[in-house]
């Protein structure tokens, strides 16, 4: 009888043990599940933040970016008339822009092209400010801010297209911006280009005319497009886009460099007499 009880007790021990094992295993498994289920969720959070910085709500003509204080031109006596060209080699850094099948990268070519355009502009007596010197990628607003801090400047952003007839070049000016409610007389940063649209069109037509003389098949006048970079730029502003990264040999694009540079410089020189510069940087004409 006693033996039987013992036997029962002996039998019960493994059952309890299994229960304990089960409990411990369950706790450990639970912890593993919690840990591993958190891991994939952390992915997007730790990924690169692709959101662009929120632009300032509005910029008065007087408000300048930090670059204004360090600009080599701010210390110089203010000259009247157009004397500065802000050159923007588009893209840069992780943003390569258009890429050709032959490995041509827009961001690299426009940086080299900017040097040629710079030299041609300097020969025409312009001072040149670049939005980037190397393989950096300033935001659209940072690039616009470089231009908006200057007095008597025009803005030229340089691009290479993915499409279009190779060996041609197109000038774009910003499309009309839809009207908005009163902004207390200040130029809203988001629509800084609006007061300059007429001047941009004139500047664009002059540069396009020069380009079309050199590159047959290019359009006769500047085109309109909703170019993000131009919208926040408070100066006569154009985009010059060259066709294209689809060329088999990048030498074809390199050969266009001197002609592009000369056309932009001559276009800017021709535009100079028609630009009455406002008293403050970025102010409406």
């Amino acid at each position: 009888m006693l033996l039987e009880v013992r036997n029962i007790a002996r039998i019960r021990v493994p059952v309890r043990t299994y229960f304990l094992f089960g409990m411990i295993a369950a706790i450990l498994t639970g912890a593993a599940i919690v840990y591993s289920s958190q891991t994939p969720a952390q992915g997007p959070q730790s990924g690169p933040n692709t959101q662009s910085p929120v632009p300032p709500p509005s910029a008065s003509p007087q408000s300048g970016p930090p670059e204004a204080a360090t600009s080599p031109f701010s210390a110089q006596p203010q000259r009247s008339g157009l004397n500065i060209v802000v050159l923007d080699p588009a893209h840069g850094g992780v943003d390569t822009g258009a890429r050709g099948t032959g490995g041509i990268r827009e961001s690299e070519i426009v940086l080299e092209l900017a040097l040629q355009v710079r030299r041609a502009l300097e020969l025409q007596g312009f001072q040149v400010v670049q939005t980037r010197q190397g393989n950096e990628n300033p935001s659209f607003d940072d690039r616009s801010a470089t231009a908006n801090a200057q007095r008597g400047a025009v803005f030229v952003t340089l691009h290479i297209s993915s499409t279009g007839l190779p060996g041609t070049a197109r000038v774009y000016v910003n499309a009309d911006l839809p009207p908005v409610a009163d902004s207390n007389g200040l130029i809203p940063w988001e629509r800084a280009q609006e007061p300059f649209l007429g001047l941009s069109r004139k500047f664009g037509d002059l540069v396009q005319g020069q380009l079309t003389q050199r590159f047959k098949g290019s359009p006769d006048g500047a085109q309109t497009a909703s170019v993000r970079q131009l919208r926040t730029t408070a100066a006569p502003a154009i985009a010059v886009e060259i066709s294209s990264v689809a060329v088999e040999n990048r030498a074809e694009l390199d050969r266009m460099g001197p002609g592009i540079a000369d056309a932009i410089a001559r276009g800017a020189a021709a535009f100079k007499p028609s630009y009455v510069v406002a008293s403050t940087p970025g102010a409406a004409p």
Partner: protein, 233 residues
């Protein structure tokens, strides 16, 4: 008894730890796979929902004007007339014409939108603003550049203008989100003007063609003569 319990307890713990160590990487892989599958099935569901809308044979057949790239002029659009049964409901009609635009012309070279892009949704607000929500591919597969991006947006705006009088402007979203640019150049923060004229045609939505859940478009039901979508190399 107590010593035995201790041994059993330690033994149990050791086994549990070993078992957990073996099971942990397997579990982690399975959880990751499950998350990926869920993501894929969500995207699949969205794509299936967004498949071209079945054409209602009861809809009146009209000569729709679709704007694809011109084969004569560089970086310009040319209208192509395609006979389609189109709904009188402006939102549904917009979806039908945009899906036809996405399907592409006979000559795939004249496409303005990437072949893998999908219209996920189209809403028409009472003020005449159309909200066109496209899949990520519209931004990632389009050739980057001012000319190509402007041509894509123009083809959307002009196709809506030619076929849906009620759409006054169009706002383009990518996967439900407002984005700064289409592919690095074209400004998508605002809406594009489609039509400055007041809406006149069609006069009222036909009661026989209510907005319904989009169905699948089989090749047999594909509107007009359309090229098969092709991926660019």
């Amino acid at each position: 008894m107590t010593a035995r319990w201790k041994i059993l307890l330690i033994g149990g713990l050791v086994i549990a730890v070993v078992a957990a160590a073996i099971y942990f990487p397997i579990l982690r892989r399975r959880v990751k796979l499950a998350a990926k599958l869920q993501q894929q099935s969500e995207e699949q569901a969205r794509r299936e929902l967004a498949q071209p809308i079945a054409i209602n044979p009861g809809d009146p057949r009209v000569k729709a004007k679709l704007f694809w790239a011109s084969d004569a002029l560089d970086s310009t659009l040319a209208p192509a007339v395609v006979e389609l049964p189109l709904s009188n409901d402006p939102a549904l009609r917009s979806k039908q014409v945009l899906n036809t635009l996405l399907a592409g012309p006979v000559d795939a070279e004249l496409r303005t939108l990437p072949p893998d892009a999908v219209l996920l949704a189209f809403y028409l607000l009472p003020d005449g603003t159309g909200i066109a929500d496209f899949s990520e591919a519209l931004a990632t597969s389009i050739p980057s550049g001012i000319a190509s991006e402007q041509l894509a947006v123009d083809s959307i705006a002009r196709t809506l203008e030619a076929n849906v009088a009620q759409v006054q402007r169009v706002k383009i979203l990518i996967h439900g989100q407002e984005v700064e640019t289409l592919a690095g150049h074209l400004d998508l923060t605002g809406a594009f003007v489609v039509n400055t004229r007041p809406a006149s045609l069609p006069s009222k939505p036909a009661p026989s063609a209510p907005t319904r859940a989009p169905g699948m478009l089989t090749p047999e039901k594909a509107p007009g003569k359309l090229a098969q979508p092709e991926r660019k190399p």
